[in-house]
Symmetry: C2
Subunit: 192 residues, 2 copies
């Protein structure tokens, strides 16, 4: 599901690849959705360990920079080993998932909430050491960091070019230290 | 294809919904990919007019703010009218598309290149009037603006909540004015 879409892969194909019968599949999982949720939880549980290590090793801004460098490396590795940039498994599934698959959607929400909370921890440390302004250490900024990562990885996948990610940290670095523009209240109003 | 995945929809279903026979479909389009490319080009051609109007009406930062407000409104409208946040059609397809559909991928690259170039025009104006620092008016920053939009819309879709987009402009406003962090050269190095 990392390189092809969730919707395009059926239980029959999963069973064939895994060398199991459909009957056996349904003995363990109610549906493709249930298998995917189990796989996602396992993937994030493993990946989460590295996130914790990285952010704890180096609390604050440098840990975040290191975490982002790891994300970029993993896209580079995917291209070197598998031949193409695969993007973010969670992001890919998030854009495919709707209300018709609530368990999968809830699982993805939990993963992104968890990531956001971890980034927020680093922001709080960074603010306490004066590396970023105190008003930037918010849940909203943490969410924006993950959003920038997801958007940048989307482009790396679309252009099949990990080099597009070279600019990720400079841009995030801007996002974290920003003072912001003067407000233009009229333009921000609803436009229709 | 806005609310369900590209991979999950077949030509048979498209024909049934449109009330045409498969033979007729293949008279006009070689494949689902060819239909999708034609539909995307038409959608962006129409949407592009609004982008141009918005950015030309108000060159620089306010036009950008207005453009982003329109994007947020369109997600709000999708939820009000269709019952759920549908996300960005181009972003949804970008995460589903790979090397096996080169025409679709090229079409999406062109659309995002076009959007990036338009945003860059506004950044250049904004820098010339002193609203943003001159060093922020780059193609990379324009790309980061679109990446931030795509990432934020991904979350609006996943959480089915347009209110998550209320923070988009404040975050972008930061991204555009940012001075950036002190560099931590060791952390940015390849980590494995």
């Amino acid at each position: 599901m990392h390189s092809r879409s969730y919707g395009a892969i059926g239980v029959a194909e999963i069973c064939e690849r895994a060398g199991v019968r459909k009957g056996s599949f349904y003995h363990f999982f109610d549906s493709k959705q249930a298998l995917t949720v189990a796989a996602l939880r396992a993937t994030w549980a493993a990946e989460r360990i590295r996130w914790v290590e990285t952010l704890d090793l180096d609390p604050g801004v440098s840990g975040l920079e290191r975490l982002m460098a790891q994300q970029v490396d993993s896209q580079r590795d995917a291209q070197r080993i598998g031949g193409s940039v695969t993007g973010c498994l969670y992001g890919n599934l998030a854009l495919e998932t709707g209300a018709e698959e609530p368990a999968l959607r809830d699982c993805l929400r939990e993963i992104f909430d968890d990531q956001t909370e971890m980034v927020r921890g680093s922001l709080i440390t960074a603010a306490s050491t004066g590396d970023i302004p105190r008003e930037r250490a918010t849940p909203a900024t943490a969410r924006a960091v993950i959003a920038q990562l997801e958007g940048a990885v989307l482009f790396a996948k679309l252009y099949d070019d990990p080099a597009t990610l070279d600019d990720l940290w400079p841009q995030l670095s801007g996002l974290l230290t920003a003072s912001g523009l003067e407000t233009h209240s009229s333009a921000g109003a609803r436009t229709d």
